[in-house]
Structure formats: C-alpha cells, structure tokens
Amino acid sequence: MILAFALAAAVLFGSGAYLLLKRDLVRVVAGIMLISQCALVTIIGSGLTRGRAPIAVPAGQAVSDPLPQALALTALVIGLATVALLLALVHRVVMVFRTAERDDLAAGEAEHEAGLEAQRQADREEAS
C-alpha cells in the first residue's frame, strides 16, 4: 500500500515539475497544485493506519490514527487558499501585462537592467 502511495506521489511530483518548467503561467500554477497534492499523498502514505475511528473504541480493537488525517485536511485547506490566491494573481498579471507568458514578464527586468547600466556610465564619468 505504501508503494502505491509512493508511486502516486512520484507521478504527481514529476508531472508537477514538468508543468512548472512551462512558459504559460496557468500551467505553472497547475504544476504547483500537483506538487502540493504530492505532499498530501506523502502525509497520508507516511501515517497510514487501519482501524475504527478513535471515538469510543471497544478494548483491543485497532484504531486509525486521526493525526495524519487532520494534517492532510489542514494542508488541503491551505492548498485551496494558496491556489485561489495564485489564480487571482495570474488573473491580475494577465490584466496588467496582457499576456500569460513568463518571458514577457522578464522584458520589464531587461529595461531595468539597461537603466542600471546608464547609471554606472554616469558613475564612471563622474569619477574621471
């Protein structure tokens, strides 16, 4: 069973990492989503126990550990919040930049770099 969880986690992580390397920001978000699902699967896989819910258990009966489930649930809620946030952010990026491609975002950085170079030029002139 643990093998199955490990495989599932590996596949999730692999697909997530692949998507992360894409240019399209929506795919990057999908990649992050998949990777956070991988963490959930790992939590469940690492703490899996079988048995009844630990409420009023008859003596001697196996109890399932509630903690990994609580962890997974909490991580799920947090994952939902962060994905919602990322989507809102990408939406805003699309509105401002009129594109969802990563390279176009970097164009602004190149402009900034050119400004810095001009400033260095000014420094050199001042020094000489």
Binding site: I55, L76, A84, L85, L87, A88
Partner: protein, 153 residues
Amino acid sequence: MSSGEPDRPDVIIRVIARMLLGPTLMVAAALVAKGYAEVGDGFGAGVAVALAIALTYVALGGARAEAALPVLRHGPKLAVGGLLLALATGFFPLLLGEPPVSHRPAPGEHVVKVGTLELFTPLVFDIGVFLLVVGVLIVLLHHLAGRDGRDGS
C-alpha cells in the same frame, strides 16, 4: 465548448446549474450535520456549495449570475463574518478562564439534540468555516469572472 455566441453557453449547462444549486445546499447541510460521527465538515460543505456557484458563473456569466443570486455580491461579508464566527467560537472560552478551543457544553454535560444533530459550539465553528470558504471562493469567482482586473482578493 463554444456553440453559438461566446456569451451564451449551452442551455443544458444553464438548466443543470440552476437545478444543482438546491440539492447542493442540502448536501452541504448534511455534511455539516453528519461531520461529528461520519465523514464531513464545514470545509467540505463550503467547497461543495462553491462548486455549484462556480457552475452558475460558468453558465450565466458574472453579471447575470450575480443578478440571479444577489447573495453573490456579499462574498466579502460572508467570508469575514464566517472567520469572525469561527474565531469567536475558538476564543470565547478565554472569557470563562478556559484555554482556547474548549467547547460548551463541556464534555460529559447534557447536550441538546435535534434529531441526530447535537447543538454545541463546534457546530457554530463549522458553520463559520463553511461561510468563510464559500465567501472566499465567491470573491475569487467574482474577480475571475469580472472584466476589470483591479483589486486582487
């Protein structure tokens, strides 16, 4: 898929969206009520309702969905109200000199029951979480459906 004008999705989606909303609310109520003995909680219920609302947005578009269901305009209020409700149930024991997240009626005390539903403060907490999740997701859907791009959530 795009059949006909872009602003008018399939009639089937619209009918299904309208029909699903009621039953989803029922399922959500069941999820909250059953959460103490079986599978279910406020978060799950909130996500279920938000999914139905998302379908409504897809079917009708932002403006018409919000005209059909005026409650969608109050997403922020729902979210804040829910969070405050949850925080209040979490921290009210401080006033009684108990550690946070204690619940009333305390363990072992008599609990009022309505059918199988037990009326105690964790139920209020779950309702708070439910409202928070629905509210936040409505805000998100509103922004994703809207045309203006200002003001992230």
